[in-house]
């Protein structure tokens, strides 16, 4: 059984897209000879040439804006913004144009754009290197927003994103880049907009995405030793959100915990809690709880373990939900 890191899986997805569709282009800061800061584009420029895979000047708004013109000229741009904290100069282009061009033109201008952004914390990074920008994008109509949690699903999600006719913001959890997974790379399986039920248990539903999924699985394993059986839902896709899979599980367990790195206030947890109330209120035995980052800037390296949801915090939230008394 072959084994892949997330970086290798993403690299393979890009290589195959460049091979199979001559209209795809890969560009961004340092994506050429260097292969990107995280080596996701390693070897691609040598293989496909400097026209299909190219470095850009340091100009994030320009990178995102060029996607519009390239799409109008019939290309499929796959752009990389180097880091979460440096993606913000591109927000105007992404919010004002990438998200809205299809609607503005009544669907006459297809926008098959993928913008990859290495994201989230947990890498002992400096300030601006541990941001969770997902809600800025998820709150913007017209974008699809996906976050892989494992190498094989990273391959699948990136392949599907590149094939998708709509713009996709592809957030890569940096702390999972070197995580390994055994299996075959395939784009068969769940689509964009479909969550994965990674573990099934009848007591509590734990919902997460990206790097925190691994911690949720670890917490579920630990809690199983205490006879608390958790379901773990890996969302994969924040927009579209698979409300059905979440609600189906919560209707069984009656309890839900949402786990994410992003700050608590107006994070994805708030949206998911509201959706659970809309779809499964009568089944709830406890309030939906959130284990999240805090309403503070992302802390320096020596403090980040206190900020990120830990297995202990996830377990504590599950125990609180399972012992909730009305």
């Amino acid at each position: 059984m072959p084994e892949f890191t997330m970086v290798a899986a993403l690299n393979t997805a890009l290589r195959e897209a460049l091979t199979n569709d001559p209209r795809t282009l890969v560009f961004g800061e340092d994506v050429g000879e260097l292969g990107g800061l995280f080596r996701v584009t390693e070897g691609l420029q040598r293989e496909f040439g400097r026209e299909r895979v190219f470095n850009t000047p340091i100009a994030e708004a320009g990178i995102a804006g060029m996607c519009i013109g390239l799409a109008l000229a019939g290309w499929r741009p796959i752009a990389e913004l180097q880091l979460d904290g440096f993606s913000y100069p591109a927000l105007d282009q992404i919010i004002s144009h990438v998200a809205k061009y299809h609607e503005r033109t009544r669907g006459r201008a297809p926008m098959p754009i993928v913008i990859r952004i290495p994201s989230f914390g947990g890498i002992r990074g400096k300030e601006h290197h541990g941001e969770s920008p997902e809600t800025y994008f998820a709150h913007t109509a017209g974008l699809k927003v996906v976050v892989p949690s494992s190498p094989l699903d990273a391959y699948r999600l990136l392949s599907l994103s590149i094939a998708d006719p709509d713009p996709v913001i592809f957030l890569e959890p940096k702390s999972r880049y070197s995580a390994k997974e055994q299996g075959e790379l395939t784009d068969e399986g769940p689509r964009i907009g479909e969550a994965r039920l990674l573990r099934e248990g009848g007591t509590c539903t734990v919902i997460s995405y990206g790097a925190m999924v691994a911690r949720c699985l670890e917490a579920a394993e630990r809690l199983a030793g205490e006879d608390v059986e958790c379901s773990v839902v890996d969302l994969r896709s924040l927009v579209p959100l698979d409300v059905e899979t979440i609600a189906t599980s919560v209707r069984v367990t009656g309890r839900a915990i949402v786990v994410h790195e992003a700050p608590r206030t107006l994070g994805m947890g708030a949206e998911i809690a509201a959706r659970i109330m809309e779809e499964a209120f009568d089944h709830l035995g406890a309030p939906v709880m959130r284990v999240t980052g805090f309403d503070t800037p992302y802390p320096p390296a020596s403090l980040e373990q206190h900020y990120l949801p830990s297995v202990d915090r996830i377990c504590a939230a599950v125990r609180e939900a399972t012992t909730w008394v009305r």
Binding site: G62, L72, Q93
Partner: protein
């Protein structure tokens, strides 16, 4: 001040026709008589339509409207110099460019009618991108298109229109540098109309805009934006240069916004009647009409026919435009995604059900 310049010792913009209509340079720009006459016809159409739009807004038939009176030569002259495969990236004041490019005026004006956003015409078939309001953002779109055309080996260029106010935005600088680095076949076409809403030139920039091109590594030219032949000439040269693979050109067309920034603006609060009157004396249409008549390229009959033609056409546009109703409510949802998410489809259903029950 606000004569299109921030320093008095800058060279005069390129001019081929003097404000009184007499030749001021080599007026042979490579156009036949029919083309030379067409420039006048298009400028007159554009002005008539612009004035009609102002009236329609005052009558409540259009939402806020940004007039371009005074800038007809800059817009028509540059648009007329483009080839059929070249691609226009307008800002929000380029209706005269759209007229010259043959974009359906009613489709274009749906934006100002409030029945859709700024791209209801087919942008790809028309080679004319949607109306772009966030300032200077369209410049990087034009770079992307130009790069795409270059990768396809097409002999075509893009042109991004923007004002001197937009040239202070970061996207101008990113776009200019990207265009230079990629040797993108494009034209950065700045209409310096002297005012960024109420802020005059000397409060916006400290050096002339065309000079910036040198810093990015491509040519910058300054042209009298009220001289349609001069604008045509420099744009044609820039387009040929771009298509030949020699990279971008920055054109600064010095002109003047005779009207307010938009119908919501009161320009009398920040500039004098005298200043506006001085620019009216440099009216681009009157200048060019005199030139054609003086050179024997047209007679009074032709000029009068242009007015009649424009009047009839504008009446048609007005009738079609005022007949436009709001699109079906479902269109709020219909074009957001090519493949709408399931959650989104449910929201659409709820919205439509609510309307049927009279809740919305």
């Amino acid at each position: 001040m606000t004569e299109g310049d921030i320093k008095s010792d800058e060279p005069s913009p390129l001019q081929l026709i003097a404000p009184d209509g007499t030749p001021a340079g080599d007026v042979d720009v490579g156009l036949e008589v029919a083309g030379l006459r067409e420039l006048l016809r298009l400028m007159i159409r554009a002005r008539r339509l612009d004035r009609q739009c102002m009236a329609l807004q005052r009558e409540g038939e259009l939402t806020v409207y940004p007039p371009f009176e005074g800038q007809e030569a800059a817009q028509v002259g540059s648009a007329f110099a483009l080839g059929p495969d070249d691609f226009v990236f307008p800002s929000f004041r380029e209706l005269a460019v759209a007229v010259a490019r043959g974009v359906d005026a009613v489709e274009y004006l749906r934006y100002h009618r409030g029945t859709w956003h700024g791209g209801p015409y087919d942008p790809i078939a028309n080679r004319f991108a949607p109306i772009c309001v966030p300032l200077a953002t369209q410049i990087v779109h034009a770079v992307g298109w130009a790069l795409g055309a270059k990768l396809d080996g097409k002999a075509a260029c893009s042109i991004a229109y923007f004002g001197e106010g937009s040239a202070s935005e970061g996207d101008f600088h990113e776009g200019a540098n990207l265009a230079a680095v990629f040797r993108a076949p494009m034209i950065l076409f700045c209409q310096n109309n002297c005012w960024a809403i109420s802020v005059p030139l000397q409060e916006q920039i400290a050096a002339p805009i065309f000079r910036r091109a040198e810093g990015y590594g491509f040519p910058g030219v300054r042209v009298d934006g009220n001289d349609v032949l001069a604008v045509y000439s420099v744009t044609k040269a820039a387009a040929e240069r771009a298509r030949a693979g020699d990279g971008p050109t920055l054109i600064e067309a010095v002109t003047y916004r005779i009207g307010p920034h938009t119908t919501s603006d009161d320009a009398t609060r920040y500039r004098s009647e005298e200043e506006v009157a001085r620019w009216r004396e440099r009216d681009p249409i009157e200048r060019y009409r005199r030139y054609l008549l003086g050179a024997g390229l047209a007679d009074d009959g032709f000029a009068a026919a242009c007015e009649t033609d424009a009047e009839a056409w504008v009446a048609e546009v007005r009738a079609a435009l005022t007949a436009l109703d709001a699109p079906p409510a479902s269109e709020v949802f219909d074009f957001v995604f090519a493949e709408p998410p399931a959650t989104f489809a449910r929201e659409r259903e709820r919205f439509l059900e609510g309307r049927e029950r009279g809740h919305a």
